[in-house]
């Protein structure tokens, strides 16, 4: 990436300059008025990794003195910033309320929505093995994003960042729902995501004048599209109108984002992170891609481009081979067929180690960014989870992994192993707790209400 003289190019703008992960330290502190005024903005980051974790993710002692399992060594140094949970289930399955095939396509939509999952695609064969399942609820990241965007005090240019690390395009990606039945696909192209987040600060065309011109052109194009959509709408049959209406709504959202940028001259511009080139074996590329995505999410937060992000590592049932950990088969195969053989248990723990190292990277990165009251991590709640566990059998829907980091501005007690094994809770309660931590204390149930009881006891500060 070319070097730009940010200050000259964006003379009217305040500048946050942070450096890419490769250069660790020097940090030019925040000039942003909001950040200087008090607590940093609260953020929520959801991280999903596929195919469950190994038993080495489970600590051995409950409470604050917990001892990390064998796969979580990389996280020892962050112990006081992390919480690990056990006894969190997909309760709707357990109580037999929820007679849905226990397959990846059905589980993934349930993970972040805790809502009923069913085939929502009328054109699919009812019995097709690859039938697309959809959730009837919104996912927690979208719920929080929509709340934040509805309030001028917390509104940002982007409603959320949803990044996918090598997430496939088949029927396994359905996880984030901005409304019932309509899953979103993550942005899997690092360069595209980069321009989406940092375009306003990309001065490659030179200066404010160029920016102004680009904004004017964008407005012309958006106005034309709006006019054409309205014209086309008139000839569509009723059943097709909804698609065009949704398209129009998305265009309007872009228009609002444009208006936000046109008017928000006191906003932020920031130095975008430098993307690293992928090379090496499959899991090395996976790692580099993931680090690029994490860099952009963290920097997007730092620039207050958004306050909600979801990072989806690959997708359920993926077959990535972690050769750097000495493994020869794809991840998915270690979660099927004789899964409690020592070889498969070891393999799952090695993969868990791998993901724990990436989690460590993310935490370190956030800790490297000072914000009012501490670091970015303190103002953020990260939730790491998986679409099933391998606890008691294949595709187990009990003891779903939940690991959190950060306290969302002190709202969460950190440094604990919360074991709900004897007081099992539905995973919707994790999201109720997250909502409370983010300040939305009116959310007292999440997902299927029968299996959501409320905030997890003892977790909120």
């Amino acid at each position: 990436m070319k070097k730009h003289n940010i200050a000259n190019n964006y003379s009217r703008r305040t500048v946050i300059k942070t450096l890419g992960i490769t250069a660790a330290a020097p940090f030019i502190p925040v000039l942003n008025a909001e950040a200087a005024a008090g607590d940093g903005p609260k953020r929520l980051l959801i991280v999903t990794t596929p195919n469950g974790l190994g038993d080495g993710a489970t600590p051995t002692k409950p409470g604050a003195d917990y001892v990390n399992g064998s796969a979580f060594g990389a996280l020892n140094k962050h112990k006081k910033d992390i919480n690990i949970f056990r006894g969190i289930d997909f309760k709707a399955y357990n109580t037999n309320l929820y007679k849905v095939t226990n397959s990846h396509p059905a589980l993934a939509p349930h993970l972040l929505t805790a809502a009923v999952t069913e085939r929502a695609n009328a054109n699919e064969d009812a019995n097709s093995q690859t039938a697309v399942y959809h959730s009837k609820g919104k996912s927690i990241d979208q719920v929080i994003s929509q709340r934040l965007m509805a309030n001028d005090a917390t509104k940002t240019a982007m409603p959320f960042i949803y990044a996918g690390v090598k997430t496939g395009r088949g029927s396994f990606y359905h996880q984030v729902y901005s409304r019932a039945g309509a899953s979103l696909y993550p942005q899997v192209n690092a360069q595209t995501l980069h321009s989406q987040i940092f375009d306003g600060s990309d001065a490659s065309s030179g200066g404010d004048l160029a920016l102004q011109r680009r904004l004017a052109e964008r407005r012309s194009v958006i106005d034309n599209a709006t006019a054409e959509i309205n014209a086309v709408m008139r000839v569509l049959s009723n059943v097709d109108k909804q698609k065009m209406q949704d398209h129009l709504d998305a265009v309007r959202q872009l228009e609002q984002q444009l208006a936000f940028e046109e008017s928000n001259t006191g906003g932020v511009a920031c130095m975008p992170p430098t993307l690293k080139a992928e090379k090496g074996a499959q899991d090395e590329r996976f790692q580099i891609d993931g680090e690029n995505m994490m860099d952009m999410i963290v920097q997007g937060f730092a620039c207050d481009r958004t306050r909600v992000a979801t990072l989806m590592w690959s997708n359920s049932a993926n077959g990535i081979k972690f050769t750097s950990k000495g493994l020869t088969e794809g991840h998915h195969s270690y979660t099927h067929s004789n899964i409690f053989s020592q070889a498969k248990k070891d393999a799952r723990n090695k993969i868990t180690q791998w993901y724990a190292e990436r989690f460590d990277y993310l935490i370190k990165k956030m800790k490297s960014i000072p914000e009012a009251g501490g670091t970015m991590l303190d103002n953020t709640l990260i939730i790491w989870t998986c679409e099933h566990s391998n606890d008691r059998g294949e595709h187990d829907r009990r003891n779903i992994p939940y690991i959190t980091a950060g306290s969302a501005g002190g709202a969460i007690k950190t440094g604990n192993f919360f074991d709900f094994s004897s007081n099992r809770r539905g995973h919707g309660d994790m999201y109720v707790t997250a909502a409370h931590a983010m300040g939305f204390t009116d959310i007292n149930r999440f997902g299927i209400p029968e299996v959501s009881q409320g905030v997890l006891p003892g977790v909120l500060a």
Partner: protein, 953 residues
């Protein structure tokens, strides 16, 4: 009282008032209809009529069989009347019990349909709220008025009875015949000599006495201790880690000790009660602690001495009391000391599954429900209008006992068959007084020309461009090259094909359309001479350019309104620039972006010509479909000119265009794309093992498909037989090819003969084998997408049903373990014998002679490649992938299925029975022309379905 309930919990309750609950109860018989029909008539030892639990009006209900039958039906009828009472009633908010006509929730709650999924599931329960009748009385009473409150006669009970019965649970049978086994034994002499198949039990209550919620073995959720009086709790979970004789250690860490009583709200019926006991006091020996357990007032376990029976302390003892009859709706258990405090660690209550549950477990996945809902082509619905062997109950019973479930005829014999036959006759549409339903025939994917008449076709939903096609489209328009779709959302699926018709575009994708349009516009400015019809930088030239390229982009001439709108923005942007030269370019860039973000480009907007339900496409729409199908891109000027002149009308005209288009290089791309998507072939991931080999294998796949289709003019058979490939050094190693090439080819890929026994046919090449990398996945692909067969969805607990296995077993034997259950195996016979024959190929497509070694078996295992076709026109046994593909090549089912997939790909949707004629004609015409793949493609563009549009779904 009963605990199983089906209600929709009303966390958002809309105002609801039921006038009906005030009346109709004075003459009610009690809810207790337990003077069991079967038991009292067949069993001399039958108890006298029991005392009704809730009502004082018991006299009419208790004595006679007919009274009890009509009594329970009367409950249902009363419930129905209440539910639908005049004026404001239950339906006001809840709609019909099946959820139709429910009121959309005003708030967060999308609906309050009582049987809305998943609450309609039979046996679904919400124990925390109590039974359905209690719930109604407790929570709905404010709307019912004071007459439907707890303890006030039968309003809640009647409504619950009605709702249960409507949901498919046989209310009367539950109330009356409580012991299916005894019912069977008394009637078996008259019915069938077949032995009874083993009984299945369902758990209706499970309590971890003295403890918290806990998971039991077999995925039974034990509730925290409840419903007790007396006794105290011990918990040794801190100090004890292992309990002998059980997998349920967690249940035995806690106990309730001392004399105690449990009273569980159940419902009338016959139950088995299981107790878990343990001696937690290590000092105790045999005789230290002896106690009795009484159930329903009778001592059922006397002088229980845990240490003596279990053989020591801290060892689990499980005792089961069978056939306990409950007649007052409650289960009462008393623990009484003999020598010392009694103790109990868990209580589990089970009963034999009801006929409806039995049907669901064994039959529903193929046959669907009582009105044919969720039926499949395997067996069809069992409603009277569809089932040929169901009419006579006796015949049906024998049929079930002799042949069902599919491939497991011994799994439901004797009383099981009888119960299910009875259930079908009582519950299913068209039998007895049940209103009949008419269900349409399934689509014959081979079509039928006998159905031809006036042109017919199914509705095409609005289709959005696929990211798979976008690059080609902008390349055709602006002569730009590049991959612009990297950040695009995943395309939606129609069958195996990436076609965007099912859902709206995601907001992120819409954003991408704008972002990419800007990128393409900047690229297009560099290629202006290649696509602009003029060179001067004037308004007139810009307009000419817009009209020329716009006609291709929109697949029709732009309207004046469109031209004027776009040119206005051109002028505005041009005049806002530093100078007119820069302004012209920026204006063109805005025009390009406006075209690429317009719905006329991004969507296939079709209206058809004329009016009516089925109308011909306009000439321009037909041109667009031809280009989309055969080129996966936009029509060229030739097609658009013909459309303008109205010369895409006759078969001859259209066929001539198809023939011309199939000679274009873009047609090769479309044919390759079809085969990759149909066979679910994915590109290899960079950095994976043998990446270069896999990339080269993809080249071979594409070139072979192309050669078979275009050079050889081959048919579907050739896809399964082709024994040459286009190989480079990597694939020669992968496919173990030596010797000279047959023919030199481009880019280092020469044509070689392959070992026909190992690599003939596309199914024996790496791209298919890597992308479909397990026997199950391969088998499913064969069954569903090569044979167009049906495999019902796996049951919800599919993964749980898999037994633990050890690595000393051959993988195929290991797999066979979990197909011994009729609930699983009936489907697996349809796929496993088609998938395992590929096991000489590993998950990357390498040939292997043996299964790999395991810790237990260092030498690995023999590979069993025996296979079997079932429910096809080539049924029978075979060995390995070669014989499998030979059979496929000889199958007419496969031919029709292959053509069906082309039809989906061409028309952009699944076919329905409205396409039956078109499908039939495609098969007929393609065969008449010689049956090549090109013939199939050409036949489709001539079909009614391709050339017409249905104006509304």
């Amino acid at each position: 009282m009963f605990t199983m309930n089906l209600y929709r919990p009303l966390w958002v309750v809309l105002a609801l008032s039921v006038a009906g609950c005030s009346g109709g109860q004075d003459d009610a018989s009690s809810t207790n209809n337990s003077s069991s029909l079967v038991v009292s008539s067949h069993s001399p030892s039958s108890e006298p009529a029991s005392t009704p639990p809730m009502s004082s009006v018991s006299s009419s209900a208790s004595s006679s069989i007919t009274a009890s039958t009509s009594g329970c039906q009367a409950d249902i009828d009363r419930g129905k009347a209440l539910y639908n009472a005049a004026g404001l009633n239950c339906t006001t908010c809840h709609g019909a019990p099946d959820g139709t006509n429910k009121t959309p929730g005003a708030g967060a709650n999308p609906s309050i349909a009582i049987f809305d999924a998943p609450y309609g599931a039979i046996g679904a329960g919400k124990p925390s709220e109590g039974a359905l009748d209690v719930y109604i009385e407790k929570h709905m009473s404010v709307y019912f008025g004071s007459n439907c409150t707890e303890g006030n006669a039968t309003c809640g009970d009647d409504l619950a009875a009605y709702l249960y019965d409507t949901a498919g649970q046989n209310w009367c049978a539950q109330q009356g015949s409580q012991a299916p086994s005894s019912a069977a034994s008394t009637s078996s002499a008259a019915s069938s000599a077949a032995p009874d198949s083993p009984l299945h039990y369902v758990t209706v209550a499970a309590i971890n006495t003295g403890g918290d919620n806990a998971d039991g073995d077999g995925h039974i959720a034990f509730k925290a201790d409840n419903s007790f009086t007396g006794g105290q709790v011990s918990d040794v979970s801190g100090g004890v880690t292992d309990i002998a004789n059980t997998k349920d250690d967690i249940l035995f860490f806690t106990e309730r000790w001392g004399e105690s009583q449990y009273e569980l709200n159940l419902y009338n019926g016959t139950f088995d009660i299981e107790f878990g006991f343990i001696e937690l006091v290590e000092e105790h020996t045999a005789g230290s602690r002896v106690f009795n357990v009484a159930i329903e007032g009778d001592i059922k376990l006397s002088n229980v001495d845990i240490v003596k029976a279990a053989g020591g302390t801290r060892e689990a003892l499980v005792k089961r009391v069978k056939n306990v009859k409950i007649t007052d709706g409650k289960l009462n258990i008393d623990f009484k000391a003999v020598t010392h405090n009694p103790t109990v660690s868990y209580i589990k209550v089970q009963r034999i599954e009801w006929p409806g549950e039995q049907y669901d477990r064994l039959c529903a996945s193929c046959h669907g429900g009582p009105n044919g809902e969720k039926r499949t082509e395997l067996g069809d619905a069992l409603v009277a209008s569809r089932c040929t062997v169901c009419g006579d109950q006796k015949v049906l019973e024998n049929y079930i006992g002799g042949t069902m479930p599919f491939k497991f005829p011994q799994a439901c014999t004797g009383s099981c068959a009888k119960r299910i036959a009875d259930y079908i006759h009582r519950k299913f549409a068209g039998y007895g007084d049940n209103p009949p339903v008419e269900l349409p025939d399934f689509l014959d994917k081979g079509g039928d020309t006998n159905s031809c008449g006036a042109p017919n076709t199914e509705f095409n939903h609005l289709r959005r461009v696929a990211s798979a096609d976008y690059n080609r489209m902008v390349a055709d328009l602006f002569k730009v090259t590049g991959n612009f779709t990297k950040g695009f959302s995943a395309d939606q699926l129609v069958g195996n094909f990436f076609i965007n018709t099912t859902r709206s575009a995601e907001p992120g994708q819409v954003e991408q359309y704008f972002a990419v349009a800007a990128t393409v516009a900047d690229e297009a400015l560099k290629t202006l001479p290649k696509w602009m019809p003029c060179t001067d930088k004037t308004y007139a030239c810009a307009k000419q350019g817009l009209e020329t390229v716009g006609r291709r982009a929109f697949r029709r001439p732009l309207t004046n309104a469109e031209v004027n709108r776009f040119m206005a923005s051109f002028t505005k942007v041009r005049q806002g620039a530093e100078n007119l030269t820069i302004g012209f370019d920026r204006g063109i860039a805005v025009l390009v972006q406006s075209l690429l973000t317009a719905p006329q480009f991004l969507y296939y907007v079709e209206t058809g010509e004329g009016s009516g339900q089925v109308v011909p496409l306009t000439q321009y729409e037909l041109a667009a479909r031809l280009a989309l199908f055969l080129w996966r891109s936009l029509p060229d000027d030739t097609l658009l000119d013909l459309a303008k002149q109205g010369k895409l009308k006759t078969n001859q005209q259209i066929q001539a265009q198809a023939t011309r288009m199939l000679k274009d290089a873009r047609a090769k791309g479309a044919v390759m794309l079809f085969h990759r998507e149909w066979m679910k072939v994915k590109n290899p991931d960079a950095g994976t093992n043998g990446y270069n080999q896999q990339v080269a294998a993809m080249v071979d796949f594409n070139r072979t498909v192309s050669a078979v289709t275009f050079a050889d003019e081959g048919s579907y058979k050739a896809l399964f037989e082709v024994d040459y490939g286009f190989l480079n050094v990597h694939t020669k190693a992968l496919y173990k090819v030596q010797g000279d090439a047959i023919e030199a080819g481009a880019n280092g890929y020469d044509k070689y003969a392959l070992n026909p026994n190992r690599r003939a046919g596309l199914l024996a090449r790496a791209p298919f084998l890597r992308s479909n990398d397990s026997p199950t996945v391969r088998g499913i692909f064969l069954r569903e997408h090569v044979l167009c067969g049906v495999i019902p969805a796996p049951p919800p607990n599919a993964a749980e049903a898999i037994p633990e296995a050890d690595d000393s077993l051959n993988p195929r034997d290991l797999f066979a373990l979990h197909t011994t259950d009729p609930g699983c195996g009936g489907c697996h016979v349809l796929m496993d014998p088609l998938g395992f024959p590929f096991d000489h190929y590993d998950d990357e497509g390498h040939w292997r002679d043996r299964y790999p070694a395991t810790a237990a078996v260092p030498g690995g295992f023999d590979i069993d490649i025996s296979g079997n076709f079932l429910l096809t026109d080539v049924d029978g046994d075979f060995e390995g992938a070669k014989e499998l593909q030979d059979k496929l090549a000889s199958s007419n089912d496969v031919s029709q299925c292959y053509n069906y997939h082309w039809f989906e790909f061409a028309v952009g949707r699944k076919a329905s029975t409205k396409d039956t004629c078109s499908l039939g004609k495609v098969n007929e015409l393609a065969a008449a022309e010689g049956g090549s793949i090109l013939d199939v493609m050409t036949s489709i563009v001539l079909s009614d379905s391709f050339r017409h549009r249905r104006t509304a779904p």
